[in-house]
Amino acid sequence: MKKITAYSRITDSLVILNGKPCEITFSCEPGPGRLAEIYRFLESGYPKFFKMDNLSKAGFLASEMVLRSLHYDMESPDESTAVVFANRSSSLDNDKRFQETISREDYFPSPAVFVYTLPNIVTGEVAIRNKILGETSFFILESFDAEKMMIFVDWAFASAGTRRVLCGWTEYLDGHCDVLVMMVEKESDQGVDYNKQNINNIYIT
């Protein structure tokens, strides 16, 4: 039976792992600075984090929390894990940054910024960090929709050899963060039942 074996939530004001708020005291106002504070709180030791755009940072941190709580083996390459994320605003937060580098008066496009002008880069960042060789996909929806997220998860499971899906709603725009990441396992006797109501409950918290 499919179960949600771990889940995390990052919003402007909250950092929650498996239903429990993290004891993190923010020293800065809501915004990108808080992502760096969460990174330090998690002691990830992954300096590449600082090269990422805000969307990737937020998705990466929420994934770190979930995978670490499951003691996920990030050293062994594994094709049986899929990463399927979705959001509302694509990579618009970073797209605006890139647009600034090509404004007519000051034309100097930055490859380091351009590479993050695709929303699926966050799935690649999580795959690289954890040596995940399974499916990575990104979908856009107008708003969070548990039913649609479950359809995406089911599609990933339909790809041969997939045993678990790291599924996420990773929205970041103009300093506002709305992220949910959960691990859905095909066969597990632990965790929360995988159903629409539970997913909505996790999102609402």
């Binding site: 880069i121 954890n130 979908f139 856009i140």
Partner: protein, 374 residues
């Protein structure tokens, strides 16, 4: 298995799948000299805006203002839907949009007056469904350069799971200053027409296009999309894996134990960047496809980004219908370590299977398997 009921391509080579395929058969390229936003010469497959607007207004009879990517998307979808003869307004018809950047050009036009939501991909997909009075929430797939393959895989799942009876998959992307400047900053553009798999390849050309496939359930006749899978390299966000890891795995999952000598050809991603083409050779060889004829369509159309997976699949399916392996335009001198069987002439084939592959930023790779039943 699902079956394409109708296709359309809107590109610099024409506004129908047939015209585009005929141009490819003639060896024609839509790539022309162009300038990047800084005035540096590049080569681009450019969609003529006047012709686009004329064709769009004639076909779609718009009652409101549409942006250029929206016009290309609606024109392509509308022509394909008309040809398929399906009811696009039915609750049993679904729409899938494949795009990387959609209306991104609006970011550079602060006073565009089209509202703040217009730049969002879900809004673009909403316009697509609304044009056909379709009541369902359309899906947007945005998975870098493999979007068009991921969108077809979504259609496969939707139809196999009985979610819909028909699914319209439309891919679109235009060469906005945003995209051109970005690829230029990566130094990945060839200022001349690109040369996939050739020793002198220097980079890619960007291409503008919209392309549509209307899928229905397979009936054991004609062509079908049999399987498709996506796998990640877990290696680098903007550079391909040196072992072709993700593409090899996507191919292995998709081909399973299909004898490799039953495959007529691979329509590769073949962007003509140094690393991409080499990576593909490694992955194809690892998957037992080193002798299978390979071609790239990028020297005809450029890299059409979100449309590429749809557009190149259509040309491949039309070649399969005709029993033909296409030559790889722009290829002259072997330029891949380990070697591949790059197709250099139009050759007839009786084989029934073909493969389409794509790879993209974020380390994603896709493989699609089509077959003909006749």
């Amino acid at each position: 298995m699902i079956k394409p009921l109708a296709y359309n391509i809107v590109s610099s080579l024409g506004f129908s799948a047939q015209d585009n395929y005929a141009a490819v058969r003639r060896g024609q390229s839509g790539i022309v000299p162009w300038l990047d936003p800084a005035g540096t010469p590049i080569a681009l497959s450019h969609l003529d805006r006047e012709k686009l607007q004329d064709a769009f207004e004639k076909q779609c009879k718009p009652s409101q203002k549409y942006t250029e990517p929206e016009q290309a998307m609606l024109l392509s979808a509308s022509l394909a839907v008309a040809e398929a003869g399906i009811n696009p307004a039915s609750v049993r018809t679904g729409f899938v949009l494949s795009s990387t950047k959609g209306n991104i050009e609006l970011l550079g036009i602060p006073d565009h007056g089209l509202g703040t939501e217009r730049i969002h991909l879900w809004h673009t997909a909403g316009l697509l469904a609304a044009h056909f009075n379709n009541p369902n929430l359309p899906l947007t797939v945005t998975n870098a350069c493999i979007s068009g393959a991921a969108a077809q895989i979504a259609a496969l799942k939707m139809l196999e799971n009985g979610l819909y009876d028909h699914v319209v998959v439309t891919g679109v992307d235009m060469a906005s200053d945003f995209i051109v400047a970005g690829f230029q900053s990566f130094k990945s553009l060839d200022p001349e027409r690109c040369r996939p798999f050739d020793a002198r390849r220097k980079g890619l050309n960007i291409g503008e296009a919209a392309a549509t496939i209307v899928f229905g359930k397979a009936d054991g006749k004609g062509i079908s999309l049999t399987r498709g899978n996506v796998r990640n390299d877990a290696n680098h966000i903007s550079g391909p894996s040196r072992t072709g890891e993700g593409l090899f795995r996507a191919l292995s999952r998709t081909l399973e134990d299909l004898p490799r000598d039953e495959i007529a050809f691979i329509c590769a991603h073949g962007t003509a960047t140094s690393f991409n083409d080499q990576m593909e050779a490694i992955a194809f060889t690892r998957a037992g496809l080193q002798h299978t004829p390979v071609f790239s369509l990028k020297a005809h159309f450029g890299h059409t980004m979100g449309a590429a997976g749809v557009l190149e699949s259509i040309i491949s399916m039309k070649a399969l219908e005709d029993g033909i392996i296409l030559p790889s335009l722009g290829y002259e001198e072997p330029g891949i370590e380990g070697g591949l069987n790059i197709s250099t002439a139009t050759v007839h084939t009786n084989k029934r299977y073909i493969i389409k592959t794509l790879s993209g930023f974020g380390g994603c790779n896709a493989a699609l398997l089509y077959q003909t039943h006749s």
